[in-house]
């Protein structure tokens, strides 16, 4: 098991955004996380990546508690993510965004080497930049490597964000609606990429509103409603679950 | 003891009056208006110039306050409106307000010179009144009275009037206010008018109280004002009132029991401790720290 959530809760004031959620994500698996608007999906991702602490329950990554760690420590343990409301470094180029994403893969103390203009520092930088370009190529963004991030289209920005997350070579990737605002071709390309990433043995936790895409891509699905897990299983099982159908038709939980 | 409390209330009323305007703009725009102290200074000079032309202080004061408000509107147009919508507006706004403050100070220097100016003799009747075991001048009592009255008017305005509701709506969320049909630009301009008029009033009262006005008179009050709005909670008007009086009292007691050389250090110690221990201040809503 890569990621295990046990009885995780998080309230904001009176709102229980995540309520006693329990589920696990395995390596090599694409795990879908679906639910109506406001179900608590993004909050769950924020809890896993350490942006906010849970008010109850535990989160483990490869057997290790991560629910009290700061975000940079969790990232160092192999968790990378994208954001529903894109958070690229707008003033940097697409390639530089991905170079930042590689932060953890780069050697820890090259600055003094760089200060002395050692060739080893130079080589390390060139490698980082080449890796970034390769990462961009993987999402079909190589030609736009030099463009400033905020000048890119919505779909392009989402793709750069995925490349930035993958640049860290994470064990667990958290994707928050990666195809929102994309056209069907772009979305299909992302779907292929997600399968490919899982094929490398990484765990993928995917939030997605596009039901067809979820059904195609995911190995297993967890359904949230009002912060609670109301169903889990294979796409086929979940699709026929009466509680899920009721939630999506708006009857509430 | 009674005398100290009286003195503390007196100084505190000016701090509070200065700070309510300061905090009002922060509450509405989330921007620190570093030109507030310059408006404070310009209003004091305006009232001074009017009394020098023979006007009674009771006419010069309202005119000086009005001048403060008008300067506030100019300030908003020059330094804040053009930055609206820019992503770094809370830092760039701070810098542009600093720029305008510098210009204001330069104007005052040019017009009034760097030396201390004083109100003409007999601007205010010189009379002392005994209260309990303490004594206060008529001027001091008037200053406390005027400050409290102005703060009461502001509180009423914010709580009970249509403009007050609109200001609060904009402070809550400019986007939502706009959707509800509020003319956000106009409300912000009016908030600046009110804020600067109050800052100007504080300046005039300060000038009268110590009978000394110079182009850098706002400097010390500016830093005290920061301490007050931090202590009160950024954006909280009642917080600023309480914190203003609190700082006045703390200062007076420090001077009496520790020594006058540490009077100014107190406000910074307060500022520092509050920011680190309780960044929301006494009654604040804005979270000072990152999640």
């Amino acid at each position: 098991m890569t990621l295990v959530l046990a009885n995780v809760s998080r309230s904001f004031g009176g709102v229980r955004a995540v309520d006693d959620a329990t589920f696990a994500v395995e390596s090599g698996e694409v795990h879908g996380l679906i639910g109506p608007n406001g179900a608590g999906k993004t909050t769950l991702l924020n809890l896993i990546s350490g942006l906010i602490p849970p008010t109850g329950g535990t989160i483990e990554l490869e057997g290790r508690r991560i629910d009290r760690l700061p975000p940079y420590r969790i990232a160092a343990l192999g968790v990378a993510r994208t954001y529903q409301n894109i958070r690229l470094f707008g003033g940097l180029s697409a390639a530089d965004n991905v170079v930042v994403g590689r932060h953890l893969k780069r050697r820890a103390a090259p600055f003094w080497r760089r200060l002395l203009m050692l060739p080893s520092a130079r080589r390390e930088e060139v490698r980082a930049r080449e890796a970034a370009e390769a990462g961009l190529a993987r999402v079909g963004m190589r030609e736009r490597a030099r463009s400033q991030a905020y000048g890119l289209s919505y779909g392009e920005q989402r793709r750069v964000e995925i490349a930035r997350a993958l640049a860290a070579e994470p064990k667990l990737v958290l994707l928050d609606e990666p195809t929102a605002g994309m056209n069907p071709n772009e979305a299909a390309a992302v779907a292929r990429l997600v399968r490919e990433v899982a094929g490398e043995g990484r765990a993928v936790l995917l939030i997605e509103h596009n039901v067809r895409l979820v059904m195609e891509v995911c190995d297993r699905i967890t359904v949230l409603n009002f912060g609670k897990v109301i169903a889990r299983g294979t796409p086929a099982e979940v699709a026929n679950d009466p509680a899920v159908i009721a939630a999506y038709l708006g009857d509430g939980a | 003891m009674a005398q100290q409390i009286l003195n503390g209330v007196f100084v505190g009323s000016i701090y509070a009056l200065f700070a309510v305007g300061y905090t009002l703009v922060f509450g509405v725009l989330d921007i620190l208006n570093l030109a507030h102290a310059a408006v404070f200074m310009l209003s004091a000079f305006a009232a001074l110039a009017l009394t020098e032309h023979g006007l009674s202080i009771w006419i010069a004061m309202p005119l000086g306050i009005l001048a403060g408000g008008v300067i506030g509107i100019v300030l908003e147009r020059l330094a804040f409106r053009p930055l609206r919508g820019r992503s770094d507006s809370n830092i760039s706004g701070l810098i542009s307000s600093l720029a305008v403050a510098t210009v204001f100070e330069a104007i005052a220097l040019q017009l009034f010179g760097p030396d201390i100016s004083r109100f003409p003799q007999g601007t205010f009747p010189d009379r002392t009144i005994a209260i309990g075991g303490a004594s206060a001048s008529l001027l001091q009592l008037c200053i406390v009275g005027i400050s409290v009255a102005l703060m009461a008017v502001l509180t009423f305005l914010l709580a009970r009037t249509r403009l007050g509701r609109r200001i609060r709506a904009v402070a809550e969320s400019p986007r939502a206010a706009r959707i509800l049909g509020v003319d956000v630009d106009k409300v912000i301009a009016l908030a600046f008018f009110i804020s600067s008029a109050l800052g100007g009033a504080a300046g005039i009262l300060f000038g009268l109280a110590f009978n000394s006005i110079s182009p850098d008179v706002g400097r010390s009050v500016e830093l005290k004002g920061l301490a007050v709005i931090i202590l009160g909670g950024m954006g909280s008007v009642p917080g600023a009132v309480i914190a203003g009086f609190a700082l006045g009292l703390i200062e007076v007691f420090t001077v009496a029991h520790v020594g006058s050389s540490y009077r100014d250090a107190i406000s910074f110690a307060v500022l520092f401790i509050v920011l680190i221990a309780r960044p929301r201040g006494l009654l604040g809503r804005a979270a000072a720290r990152e999640a």
Partner: protein
Amino acid sequence: MDLLLAYEGLIAFVGINGLLALSIYATLSCGQLSLANAGFMAIGAYTGALITLHAPAVPFIVVLLAAALAPSLVAVPLGLPVLRLRGVFLAIATVGFGEVVRLVFVNWDFTNGALGLVAIPQRTHVWTIYLALAVALYVLGRLRGSRAGYALEAIREDETAARTMGIQSTAYKLSMLVLGAALAGLAGALEAHFTFIVSPAGYGFGRVVDMLVQAVVGGAAVFYGPVIGAAFLTVLPEVLRELGARLGLSPGPFRLFLNGVILLAVILYLPSGLASLPQRFRRRAA
């Protein structure tokens, strides 16, 4: 000869102000508006002056290193709590720190209170200043493109996102605060050994405002911007002094007025500062 001496002073102050503007840039480069630098400068100036006055045999380079080290050591315990504050709250807290430093020196008999230290031997030469400036520019310039440099830019753009990329933002912010403190302290000691005096009045809120104005006017997006701003705003008033006198304006207010107007114009119309001008013209020409 008189003319040369007058220019020597101006050239020296361009360099010193350049170092000070860079000290503000250090924290601005990761998006933090820290205004503690007048305080750091004071600590450096007093440290340097006291060593020179009490132990004249100590080589100047050691004096300068001590002057850079002392405020850096203060910056660590200051930064740990204070750097958790965001935006204006950090600015306010650091302004408070600067004033506390100033008040300590005002009230400290050992440093001669409000009068400060006088008759400090002149040990700073123009070349010393520019050597220091060159080293500072080199270090900050080399940061660009390095792993640390990328991390700083990421923190400036979006600290939260940077943290989820494994960037330990607090450590980076603290390092830059320490670096800025060292530069300010160095500049303080250089200035003290050039003007012969240090007094608390020289390190008030106005001083840090000057540094910030110069950094912003020059442009805080690139490492050399602040030096351009410092040079521009230090030289301009001298050039315009003549003009102001002809217009019947006293030099003090005129300088202040210009500073304010230039700062306003830059922040409104040229947010990346004077350093971005060439790029602008090129884009327009293209």
